[in-house]
């Protein structure tokens, strides 16, 4: 087999491997098929790593599915964003999977034990489908696969609140994807194609395009839980099993955002007017402030972290106007890319360490964390490191992301974004320190349950990755720029 052929087979592997493991886990629905799972996670990591390496050295690539060419057929597109997201997905998913494998099953309901893994791998496959998609309808199917497996993972934790959270999540997801689908229907009727690459060349600024774009944007904003459409997120992310919460917050909400980004950029700056982009940015600003404010006031630790996700999503949307109509779109792109990746690592670290703390003190409330400083230093340290990145303190990936966004805003003299970015940082500091303040209270009476050391190691690794992204942002960003249509964005 030639070198060229091997590399072209690499691209679909990141989808085939998780799908295959979903089937394998179904064939032997044991509670914990360890011998099956470790090789699966390892293979997935290796394939993603090689794919990233391939993109880093070889650049943009297309894998023609069924050997048919677009727009009749479909293809997998590996640009820098797609390959990096595949890599981040495999890293975060493996960490969450390993966390799950180290979890003592105890008295957890049996359905969450038996059926976790097939859904877990389906979720991973769906994410990779979306990162690699270049076709509007394919994105829809990927989004549905992602939505249903997420809802399933939320529901199987079995408790009553999980059911209502899952239902609410499902209804929001269904409404969001229908709005998206209707937009896609209009675009197909107007342009006769579903391939973004074909669409980009023929798009024109008429009213059907605008209506389609508005529907797509609304649907995807609902799916990404952009303020004020975020109501479904905190219950679902708060009630799920800890590794599930981590995957949902770190990866799943990004999928619909990346779709929106691809569609906006694909349609080009001529279609997305500055006012449109600005109004989306304003909602992002609302998310940063509202999510941060809510996180300051929630008694429940996982709710606090979930609201922090609402706020951090806001940064992604604030980056959009800077990207589409700002003076320095290159800086905004870099900042956006770093925000997506560093938040993935930081938020998964934060959820996993929160889960560890909750198990240790046998309570989900922030006030129950008394004395944690002394007894659970590693988990708290991981939480703190993740917090540093979310706040945007140097030298973390979150810092570089926010710094780049700040510079992009300053370049165009858009001071209002600067205020929002700084205010968001302050709010984040507020809720992270809230957890620390509770943990410093000495409480001799408190009992602490033992937690696996592996849990702390995993959370620390993820938190470390989010810091490392700040120190080594240059190589990552140079890959993520591959295939980014930055030239088209500069006016």
């Amino acid at each position: 087999m030639s070198e060229r052929a091997l590399s072209s087979a690499l691209v679909p592997l990141v989808i085939v491997i998780p799908l295959a493991w979903a089937v394998l886990c179904l064939l032997r629905p044991r509670h914990r098929p360890t011998l099956l799972l470790w090789p699966g996670l390892a293979l997935w990591l290796i394939a993603s790593g090689m794919l990233w390496q391939h993109t880093a050295s070889g650049g943009l690539a297309l894998h023609l599915l069924g050997a048919w060419t677009e727009p009749l057929g479909m293809s997998l597109r590996t640009d820098g964003l797609a390959s990096t997201m595949c890599l981040v997905t495999s890293l975060v998913a493996s960490a969450c999977g390993a966390y799950r494998l180290l979890t003592p099953l105890g008295d957890e309901p049996s359905e969450s034990q038996r059926w976790f893994w097939p859904l877990f791998f389906m979720l991973g496959a769906a994410l990779n489908v979306i990162w690699l998609a270049g076709d509007l309808f394919n994105m829809y199917v990927g989004l549905e696969l992602l939505g249903l497996s997420s809802v399933g993972l939320v529901a199987i934790s079995g408790r009553e609140q999980a059911l209502s959270a899952a239902l609410r999540y499902l209804l929001a997801a269904l409404l969001g994807s229908l709005a998206y689908l209707l937009g896609v229907a209009l675009l197909y009727a107007a342009y006769g194609t579903l391939a973004l690459s074909t669409l980009a060349g023929t798009i024109s600024a008429d009213s059907i395009t605008y209506v389609a774009l508005a529907l797509i944007t609304m649907g995807l904003c609902l799916k990404t839980a952009l303020f004020p459409l975020h109501g479904w997120l905190p219950p679902a992310h708060g009630v799920a099993l800890t590794p599930v919460s981590a995957m949902l917050s770190a990866l799943v909400v990004k999928a619909s955002f990346v779709m929106l980004l691809r569609i906006w950029i694909g349609l080009g700056v001529g279609i997305i007017t500055p006012a449109f982009a600005q109004s989306i940015g304003v909602l992002g600003a609302g998310a940063i402030l509202w999510g941060g404010w809510q996180a300051l006031h929630h008694a429940d630790l996982k709710s606090l972290v979930a609201h922090s996700t609402v706020a951090q999503i806001g940064y992604l949307f604030v980056a959009l106007p800077l990207l589409m109509s700002g003076a320095a779109p290159g800086l905004a792109w870099d900042g956006l890319m770093l925000q997506i990746t560093s938040h993935a690592f930081a938020k998964s670290a934060m959820f996993l360490s929160s889960g560890t703390l909750i198990v240790a003190v046998s309570s989900g409330r922030v006030e129950s964390l008394h004395g944690v400083t002394r007894h659970m230093p590693l988990a708290l340290f991981a939480f703190g490191l993740a917090g540093v990145s979310l706040m945007g303190l140097p030298p973390s990936g979150g810092f570089s992301a926010k710094w780049l966004l700040l510079h992009s805003a300053l370049a165009g003299g858009e001071w209002h974004w600067v205020v929002v970015l700084l205010g968001g940082g302050l709010l984040t500091a507020g809720y992270v320190f809230r957890v620390f303040r509770a943990s410093f209270v000495a409480d001799a009476d408190h009992r602490f349950d033992k937690t696996p050391l592996g849990w702390d190691v995993i959370a620390l690794l993820l938190a470390g990755a989010s810091i490392l992204l700040g120190l080594a942002s240059t190589p990552v960003l140079s890959v993520m720029r591959i295939g980014a249509p930055l030239a088209g964005l500069v006016r």
Binding site: V141, E160, L167, R168, L170, L178, L181, A185, Y188, A189
Partner: protein, 100 residues
């Protein structure tokens, strides 16, 4: 107005009508009915508008087939969750909505 355009228009009206019902109702079963009608509306719009003045197009028809299967899977899943929620609490609305 051609036949295709007429059915596309009906599809658009169905979508809007059902959207209103989806947002107004709190009863989960009614919201599911609305979801399904919204789906049918967007499918009609897709095929009707794509085939207007162009004749039959197998691509949107295939998309609709896929969409129908996805819709029935989602509906069935929602019904299963609803039944369990009802069995656990005796309620057919979400807690946030019934509080109103």
């Amino acid at each position: 107005m051609s036949r295709e355009l007429w059915f596309a228009l009906i599809g658009a009206l169905l979508f809007a009508l059902a959207l209103g019902a989806f947002l107004s109702h709190t009863h989960l079963l009614r919201r599911l009915l609305a979801f399904n009608i919204m789906g049918s509306g967007s499918f009609l719009l897709l095929v009707g508008l794509s085939q207007d003045m162009r004749g039959p197009d197998p691509v949107p028809q295939a998309l609709v087939l896929t969409g129908i299967v996805v819709a029935v899977a989602s509906t069935a899943l929602a019904l299963i969750l609803l039944r369990r929620w009802f069995a656990a609490t005796g309620s057919t609305t979400l807690p946030e909505d019934s509080a109103e």
